[in-house]
C-alpha cells in the first residue's frame, strides 16, 4: 500500500479496501505520552440521558474526561454531540423543555445536583461557540465583563492583557482595545471569545465547533492555541472535522444516531484515545465512519 503524505488528504470512497484513515496519523496528539493515562478525571459522565420534552435526544453516555487533555466529540450531524457538550456548563437549562438524567460529576460534585447554581458552573466551565459571538462592545469590555460580574477586584488592565496574550491576540489588538470587537476578523473574533472564556479563569473550556465559521488559516491558529491552552485547561471540543479531532485531541468520543419515526436519538459508540479511535477502533461503526463509509 502506498504511503500517504500529509498533503494527500483526499478521501477516495471507491477504494473500500483502504481501512486506514485518509490522513496522516503518525503525528496524532498524545501519542507516546506515558503520562496520558494518569491524568486525573475532571468531569465524569455516567448514564447521561437528555430529553427534549418527552423525546429522548441523547441516551446512555458514559465518559470520563481527564484534566489537561483535549477531548473531542465527533459524529454525524444530529448525533447530539453539541447537546452533550452543553450539559457540561448547564447551557441546556436555557432550553425550556430540556431535561437531563444521569450524573455529570465535576470535582466530585454532580453538576445537576439540587444545590448547584448553573451561574457558578458557567464561571468555572467556559464556553466558545460555533459562530464567533463577541459582545457588541469594545474589545476591552468583552474580556472584562466576565471577571467584573464574578466580583474580581484585581487590576483589570493586567487581566485583560494576560487573557488576550493567552489567546494569542494581544499583539494584534493592543492598540485598539477600546474599539468595537465587531471590527475584528472572524478568526480574531473567535480568539477574542476564547480570551473572554478564559478571563474568568475556568478550569474547563468547552468549544462547540469553534472553527466551523473560519477559514483554514484562522482554523490552524485556533488549533495551535488549543494545544497551548491544554497545559492550563481541560478542553472539550465538538467538531465535525475528523482531521481536526485527530490533530488536536487526546481522546475522542464517537457518537452516532438512531433515526426513528419520532426523531433522532444520539448515543455514544466508542470513547477512547484518539490514536486508538483512528487506527484501531473497536467498533465496526466507528471504523466505517472514520474511513468515510458513513456520515
Amino acid at each position: 500500500m502506498e504511503t500517504r503524505t500529509q498533503t494527500d488528504k483526499t478521501v477516495d470512497l471507491t477504494k473500500e479496501k483502504v481501512r486506514t484513515p485518509s490522513f496522516d496519523v503518525s503525528s496524532l496528539a498524545g501519542q507516546g505520552d506515558p503520562m496520558l493515562a494518569q491524568n486525573p478525571v475532571m468531569i465524569d459522565v455516567r448514564g447521561l440521558h437528555v430529553y427534549y420534552g418527552d423525546f429522548l435526544a441523547v441516551k446512555n453516555v458514559d465518559m470520563p474526561i481527564r484534566q489537561n487533555e483535549i477531548t473531542s466529540l465527533i459524529g454525524p450531524s444530529g448525533c447530539g454531540k453539541s447537546t452533550v457538550l452543553r450539559c457540561f456548563n448547564r447551557m441546556n437549562d436555557l432550553i425550556e423543555t430540556a431535561r437531563v438524567e444521569g450524573v455529570i460529576e465535576y470535582h466530585g460534585v454532580n453538576l445537576y445536583g439540587d444545590s448547584v447554581d448553573p451561574v457558578e458552573v458557567r464561571r468555572r466551565v467556559g464556553m466558545v461557540f460555533q459562530k464567533p459571538n463577541p459582545f457588541p462592545k469594545p474589545i476591552y469590555d468583552n474580556i472584562a465583563f466576565g471577571p467584573r460580574i464574578a466580583g474580581w477586584n484585581g487590576k483589570m488592565d493586567d487581566l485583560v492583557e494576560e487573557s488576550l496574550r493567552r489567546a494569542a491576540l494581544w499583539d494584534e489588538v493592543k492598540d485598539k482595545l477600546h474599539e468595537s470587537a465587531y471590527a475584528l476578523s472572524g478568526g480574531q473574533q473567535q480568539r477574542l471569545c476564547i480570551a473572554r472564556a478564559i478571563a474568568t479563569s475556568p478550569d474547563v473550556v468547552l468549544m462547540d465547533e469553534p472553527c466551523s465559521a473560519l477559514d483554514p488559516i484562522a482554523t490552524l491558529k485556533i488549533e495551535e492555541l488549543m494545544l497551548d491552552l491544554k497545559k492550563d485547561y481541560t478542553i472539550i471540543i465538538v467538531t465535525h472535522n475528523m482531521q481536526q479531532a485527530a490533530r488536536v485531541s487526546d481522546r475522542t468520543a464517537f457518537f452516532s444516531v438512531d433515526v426513528s419515526e419520532r426523531g433522532r436519538t444520539g448515543y455514544l459508540v466508542e470513547f477512547a484515545r484518539t490514536q486508538d479511535i483512528f487506527t484501531k477502533p473497536e467498533k465496526k461503526q466507528t471504523e466505517d465512519y472514520i474511513t468515510g463509509r458513513f456520515g
Binding site: L94, G126, I149
Partner: protein
C-alpha cells in the same frame, strides 16, 4: 383564392413576441392602481396645504411667540394656546413616566423571562387586544378610575378632572403600544449575545442589563417616542376625563396644585375651536394644527435622531 401568401414562420414568431399586441386591460389596471396611490398621497398634500393656507391670516397679524404664550380666550383676536401647550407638555411627561417603565418592564418579562405557558399566552393575547381598544374607552376607564374613584387624590379641588388623571389615562392608552414595540426590539437581539453572556457566568439580569438592553435600546427608544406621538394627538380620552377649553388661571399655583388642577391640551383645543362659529377661530384652529404638526414632526425627528446616535455608539 389562395393568392395571398401565408406569413412566414419568422413573421409569426416576431409578431407574437413583440409587445405590440397591447395588453389594454393590463394597462388600465395599472393606471387604476397608480390612481389610488396618487389619491392617497394627494389627500395628505391637500390636507397640509388646506391647514397652511387657513392659518395664513394668523401669522400675518401675530407673532408665533404671541400665539403660543397668550392665554385661552373667547376673543379670537387675542386668544392663544398657552395652557394647552403647557398641558400637552405635562401630559406627555406623565404618559412617558407611566408607560415607559411599565411597558419596557412588561416587555422584558414577556421576551426574556416568560416561558411558553398559559400566563404568557394570556398576557400576549390581552396586550394585542388592548392595543385595539378604541381610545375613547380608555377615556371611560380614566373617568371611572382616576376621576371618580381616585378623584380625592388626583384632583380634590376639581373633582378629579386634573392633568394627573389625563396623564395616567394617556399612559395606559399607549402602554400596549410601548410593550409591543419593545418586545419587537428585544426579539431582534441575536440569541448568540445572550449565550455569550451566559457562557461567562452572567445571571439572567446581568445578561439583560449589560448586553440585551444596550443592543435593544435604539429600537425601544424609537418605539416608545413614537408612541408618545400617538398620545400627543389624542383628544377623545382627555375630553372624558375633563380636559377643558375655556379660560382658566393657573398663575400662582404651586406645581403640585397645578398638577391637580384643571387642564387643557392642544388636541382638545382643536376640537373646541373647530366647532366655534366665530370666523376668527377657523384661522386660529389652523394655526394650532400647524403648531401641533410641527411638534409631532419634532417628536418623530427626535426618535430618529436618538436611534441613529445610539446605533453609532455600538
Amino acid at each position: 383564392m389562395a393568392v395571398t401568401s401565408a406569413p412566414t414562420a419568422e413573421v409569426l414568431v416576431r409578431r407574437s413576441l413583440s409587445a405590440k399586441k397591447r395588453d389594454v386591460r393590463g394597462r388600465v389596471f395599472e393606471a387604476v392602481l397608480i390612481l389610488t396611490l396618487l389619491v392617497s398621497m394627494a389627500v395628505l398634500v391637500v390636507l397640509l396645504l388646506d391647514v397652511a393656507l387657513d392659518s395664513r391670516s394668523v401669522w400675518g397679524e401675530r407673532t408665533l411667540g404671541n400665539f403660543l404664550t397668550s392665554q385661552l380666550s373667547a376673543d379670537p383676536a387675542t386668544a392663544g394656546i398657552r395652557q394647552a401647550l403647557v398641558g400637552s407638555l405635562i401630559l406627555m411627561i406623565f404618559t412617558a413616566a407611566i408607560a415607559f417603565p411599565l411597558g419596557i418592564s412588561a416587555a422584558i418579562f414577556l421576551e426574556e423571562y416568560a416561558e411558553d405557558n398559559r400566563f404568557a399566552r394570556i398576557v400576549n393575547a390581552n396586550i394585542r387586544n388592548l392595543a385595539g381598544v378604541p381610545s375613547i374607552v380608555y377615556g371611560l376607564l380614566g373617568l371611572a378610575l382616576f376621576v371618580k374613584i381616585l378623584g380625592g387624590i388626583t384632583g380634590p379641588e376639581v373633582e378629579g378632572r386634573s392633568v394627573i388623571s389625563g396623564g395616567l389615562t394617556l399612559g395606559l392608552l399607549v402602554l400596549p403600544i410601548v410593550i409591543i414595540t419593545s418586545v419587537e426590539a428585544l426579539r431582534a437581539v441575536p440569541n448568540s449575545i445572550r449565550e455569550g453572556a451566559f457562557g461567562v457566568g452572567a445571571t439572567k439580569w446581568q445578561m439583560i442589563r449589560h448586553h440585551v438592553l444596550p443592543v435593544a435600546a435604539p429600537g425601544i427608544l424609537t418605539g416608545t417616542i413614537l408612541s408618545l406621538g400617538r398620545a400627543f394627538g389624542e383628544a377623545a380620552p382627555l375630553l372624558l376625563v375633563g380636559g377643558i377649553t375655556t379660560f382658566f388661571q393657573s398663575g400662582d399655583a404651586t406645581p403640585v396644585e397645578q398638577l391637580r388642577g384643571r387642564f387643557s391640551a392642544m388636541p382638545v383645543l382643536v376640537f373646541r375651536w373647530a366647532s366655534l362659529p366665530q370666523a376668527g377661530f377657523r384661522a386660529l384652529t389652523a394655526a394650532l394644527i400647524v403648531v401641533m404638526l410641527v411638534a409631532l414632526l419634532l417628536i418623530n425627528a427626535t426618535a430618529i435622531y436618538l436611534r441613529n446616535r445610539f446605533e453609532k455608539e455600538l
